[in-house]
Subunit: 363 residues, 2 copies
């Protein structure tokens, strides 16, 4: 499908991730693969200990601190392994040797986080929305004061739900923010650990951001293997082993872009406009319906279905002709999912809405 | 230093890793960051489940099998985490719950491999060359028949030594080949597991190759966390979680290049020529001496020192003027290290040898 559209039509990339990145990030990172700045060598063929790459890593980390107002006593790391390794890292660094942890299961990735934590110790599932195929965010659940931490997944990519606010908690909060970090303002000081795969709002797949409260580390009485030990990575300035240089570079560029357009405040406003536009149409158009509770709708991933599946072929033809890509829903929800990460322009959402309206006139 | 050479002079990149890659790999991978093939989207902004990326992953895996004659009962995976996570993965997948493992410590990375394995169980150091700052490869050591596996590091990047042949062993052999895989013919069937970070002969930092004998998995009676469980990755065709798409793509391109120049047989011959050239000069030139036992010299990393350090400044000036980059020795050896990975042309080694000879005439 993609191949047919080349050159004749702009593609509107609603992919759920890896996903659309700002054009200038693609251009600058491609240029660096040929030659980094003007050093005569490629970004990917120099030592990660060179002053040139150290500067890339430091800039990327500093931009995270600046854009999210990260408190002084927090460290910022770019590591490997995706959120999937983060599940294990979170548990090893925060669950005491004979302690326990509290998990909220609000989607597929939240479930995986809880599953992997069980390899490190006891996991209490204290809230879940599995009873309704994860179409809402549980609220007012009790947080056990004797658990070592509470684990949340801020945005559920597959199901299209999002924590609009985070619970008050007397125990440390760990949050997987893979699919909505940098999309809205957050108060980092409320979290012991935030981790996020890069491949949505931050850059290309291959690196994972960790933002961790230094004061809360080293309290588990565990022997933690080096690659899972956040203190080891902090002590080595995020270069304990060879970092994924290209992925870190794309993060630096994407965060530079975000800063240039006004930072998280500005992008949150645009993201809200995009979300209002698509959800407005889903609610107005009699042919569609959203799949989640309205109050828990994600501003990143809008999930919706046709009320009458018999017109599916016709709708699919329309959006494909309009150059829209990547809106097929995940198999566990069906229907459609419009992922509207930071780099997706409002214009692309408008094209989708236009198609939905055109569809209405044809049925 | 690098910055001054731009455009006026070709740079001879002897970096120990990340290191030189074939020019066409840089050009093709940069192009794919702008647009993959002709699909209208970048390599780094499409789903890893798209047919386009699945094809990249499959090609990369197939090239490994072809170039190394990997037996049918082996799986090939591209994962994240570097060899450093491989240390843990190796131990978890091959050391029985109450078993033990046998390690050879032939350098810094071999020592790290043994250290991380201790988080999984008992580690016997059965041979080490630490007594002589790792300047040789131990031989004729006894391999305990009751250990679950023997761990080797085929090439020691920092010290410049290499296993020229591998010991006969009645127990499975696991080998970290990060710095010499694809540089010479190997008999994969002799190994239970081979793992290797990509950033020397294979591609850019950010992915790690695993070649594993399927028949030997699942025997440890351990509960292995998913990200460390090779069977999990095999069952998901190396896509258990989002793969590092760019790094895998550069591997595919580099292996295509290797195949195009005649494969491992051809590159081994060139690598031997490069090694003969530099070691010949080190031995001939009265101003230099090698730091390792001759019989254990690495064809990838040649380490040498000035016999008289008082002329250091003059020699350093000469090679810098010749456009040579990255030959400063590691702090634990001192002197110089010429890393001659697959993509380094013979011409670059000749330039270094010319400089060494010019230096001789000047002293």
């Amino acid at each position: 499908m993609l191949a047919e559209m080349t050159e004749t039509k702009k593609i509107h990339n609603f992919s759920a991730g890896p996903c659309i990145l700002p054009r200038q990030v693609l251009e600058k990172s491609a240029k660096a693969v040929i030659e980094l700045d003007d050093i005569g060598l490629s970004l990917i063929e120099i030592s990660h200990r060179s002053k040139e790459f150290i500067s890339v890593m430091e800039k990327a980390r500093a931009l995270v601190k600046e854009l999210l107002n990260v408190p002084e006593n927090y460290s910022v790391l770019f590591l490997q392994g995706g959120a999937s390794l983060g599940f294990l890292t979170a548990a090893h660094n925060f669950m005491r040797k004979d302690g326990k942890s509290a998990y909220t299961v609000t989607g597929e990735w939240a479930r995986k986080a809880a599953k992997e934590a069980k390899y490190a110790g006891e996991v209490d599932i204290i809230a879940t929305s599995e009873d309704k195929n994860f179409n809402y965010i549980p609220k007012n659940f009790e947080i056990p004061a004797n658990a070592d931490y509470l684990h949340l997944t801020s945005n559920n990519t597959i199901f299209g739900t999002q924590f609009k606010s985070f619970p008050e908690s007397s125990i440390p909060i760990i949050c997987d923010m893979s699919s909505d970090i940098f999309s809205r303002k957050i108060d980092v000081s409320k979290f012991a650990l935030i981790y996020a795969g890069a491949q949505k709002n931050m850059g290309t797949a291959g690196t994972t951001l960790y933002i961790v409260n230094n004061d809360l580390l080293g309290k588990t009485e565990r022997e933690i293997p080096s690659m899972l030990n956040l203190q080891v990575h902090i002590d080595k300035d995020s270069m304990f082993n060879t970092p994924p240089v290209f992925a870190v570079y794309t993060c630096m560029l994407t965060l530079e872009w975000l800063k240039s357009i006004g930072g998280v405040d500005a992008i949150e406003e645009i993201n809200n406009q995009k979300a209002d536009l698509i959800y407005g149409e889903i609610d107005r158009n009699p042919l569609f319906e959203g799949t989640t509770e309205k109050e828990d709708r994600s501003i990143m991933n809008a999930t919706f279905v046709l009320k009458d599946e018999t017109h599916k072929e016709e709708f699919d033809k329309l959006w494909q002709e309009a150059g829209i890509s990547g809106i097929k829903g995940h198999r566990s929800v069906g229907g459609y999912r419009a992922s509207m990460y930071n780099a997706l322009p409002l214009e692309s959402v408008q094209v989708l809405v236009d198609v939905m309206q055109e569809f209405e006139t044809k049925i």
